[in-house]
């Protein structure tokens, strides 16, 4: 019986090849958009995590701090878990950096009587990231130290990006859901056309004693094959598109360049399974309506 189902399925596809090619094209386009979205979203998520793991903190010192007090602050920072002092910026260096940043507009700095900028330590907390380090607590402890003017840390804006990412995620779910519906709709209509083209044959099968499932199974396999084929083609096209990308490194907001990586194997399997499941659902709807007679 298995050989009959397989033979019948491929015969159905062959006999309605043009309809199948058209619907396959639409399924590929839908799954491709879905895959591209997953690719983009996956990378955005990775980047956010990596930025989150590199929390940077600026510890501004009071003017005229004694060397003893500065050493105390230095020792305190060294004692913090995962902390690495990247740089000590003296008042002079801070002014120099500002001058460089302002460029032609730096003239007004000459009119200042004294250097208003504080010296600071640039500290980076590696690896454990926002989950391991509690920046607000560290900030509080540092600001209690004698000689520390103010402490600022970088992940306040990360929270904003995370909010943005949540919006992207929501949009993704909505678009993904609509695309899935689109695939189901296409498969349903393709299978309906196949069923219609075999209407007489189905009637005869029923007259010689075929059960409903005997008649329905090839259509379910057909929908599944169409879904899987759509998934495979979408993944291949997505990978080809990824390969021809001119650069795989992305540098945003002047932060460390980040890799633009392809979808992990789990996501690829997910696209294929999704294709198969949507194909079967589409066929199921088609045969359910047709065989209700």
């Amino acid at each position: 019986m298995r050989s009959y189902f397989i033979r019948q399925t491929f015969m159905n596809i062959r006999k309605n090849l043009s309809v199948h090619i058209l619907s396959l094209g639409t399924i590929v386009a839908s799954l491709l958009i879905l895959g591209a979205f997953l690719l983009l979203f996956g990378n955005l998520n990775n980047w956010l995590q990596r930025w989150g793991t590199a929390l940077s903190m600026s510890i501004y010192l009071k003017d005229g701090i004694s060397e003893y007090r500065r050493d105390k602050v230095y020792s305190f920072i060294r004692g913090l878990p995962e902390a690495e002092i990247k740089r000590f910026i003296s008042k002079e260096e801070a002014l120099k950096d500002l001058r460089a940043a302002l460029g032609d507009d730096a003239g007004f700095l000459n009119r200042l009587g004294r250097n208003p900028l504080p010296a600071s330590y640039e500290v980076v907390f590696e690896s454990k990231g926002t989950h391991g380090v509690e920046p607000e607590k560290i900030k509080g402890e540092l600001e209690k130290l004698d000689g520390v003017e103010e402490v600022q840390y970088s992940n306040e804006w990360l929270n904003k990006i995370e909010g943005f990412l949540n919006v992207v995620r929501l949009i993704g779910f909505i678009i993904g859901g609509l695309l899935c519906l689109c695939v189901v709709f296409i498969v349903t209509n393709t299978i309906k056309l196949t069923i219609y083209s075999r209407k007489d044959e189905i009637e005869i099968l029923k007259l010689v004693g075929a059960t409903d499932w005997f008649v329905k199974t090839p259509f379910l396999i057909e929908g599944m094959i169409e879904g899987i084929s759509g998934g495979v083609l979408a993944v291949l096209m997505l990978f080809s598109g990824y390969l021809i990308l001119p650069t795989k490194g992305v540098s945003l907001f002047g932060l460390t360049p980040l890799d633009f990586v392809f979808l992990p194997a789990g996501y690829l399997v997910l696209i294929l399974i999704l294709g198969a499941v949507l194909g079967v659902i589409g066929s199921f709807i088609a045969i359910g309506r047709f065989f209700a007679v």
């Binding site: 009959y4 006999k15 009637e203 010689v208 004693g209």
Partner: protein
């Protein structure tokens, strides 16, 4: 055994069968005859479960067709062979595939299906044509493919609607011999025909239908 109790069938305002009471014993060979429109085909289709009666009921081996579930009707049909007047062959399948389908739906092993199909095609004289498509065959040959499909599964009941309508006298006799050999194995055979030659040449039970009623039964 086939039993019909007070059976009626209407198509819109037209009465196809009216108050039919009939009993056909297991292993009987019965002809159903009558003019065109007398209700011969409707009677066979009701026995096959392809039509629902307007009133009355049908028992096939004590199974009430009015109350049978769809899956059970499918299983019952595997025990009934039907030769349709319009053959109902699949034009995109070969002669072999058309006959084999009756065994494939039962889920029999491919090797057995092949063997039994070859055997049956030899029996109806179509062994040479097994790879041909129905539309390339003559009317008589198509008729024989339809007969082969009906008998390949060794049915308990064989219903044939005008099975010799497209055959010449010699082939008609050959087909009737075929039906008799199937009957000798214990199959109940019901043949609807309006061929007078066929009826004159037989001493089997004959039921005459006229305007949806039984006007004569030679049992």
């Amino acid at each position: 055994m086939i039993q019909l109790f007070d059976l009626s069938k209407k198509f819109g305002p037209n009465v196809a069968l009216n108050d039919i009471r009939l009993r056909i014993r297991q292993g009987e060979f019965v002809f159903v005859t009558g003019p065109s429109g007398a209700g011969k085909t409707t009677l066979l289709r009701l026995i096959f479960g392809a039509e629902k009666p307007a009133s009355g009921y049908i028992l096939i081996n004590a199974v009430n067709l009015n109350r049978i579930s769809r899956p059970k009707l499918d299983l019952l049909r595997r025990k009934i062979g039907f030769v349709f007047q319009d053959f109902k062959l699949l034009p995109r399948k070969t002669v072999f595939e058309n006959v084999a389908i009756a065994l494939e739906v039962i889920g029999l092993r491919p090797k057995f299906v092949r063997k039994k199909t070859h055997q049956t095609l030899r029996l109806v004289g179509l062994a040479e044509k097994e790879n041909s498509y129905p539309l390339s065959l003559s009317g008589g040959e198509q008729q024989r493919v339809a007969i082969a499909r009906a008998i390949v599964k060794d049915p308990l009941i064989l219903l044939a609607d005008e099975p010799t309508g497209n055959l010449d006298p010699q082939l008609t006799m050959e087909i009737m011999e075929l039906f008799k050999s199937i009957h000798r194995k214990g199959t109940t055979v019901v043949v609807a025909t309006h061929s007078q030659e066929l009826l004159e040449a037989t001493d089997c039970r004959t039921i005459v239908l006229n305007r949806g009623k039984i006007s004569e039964d030679t049992s």
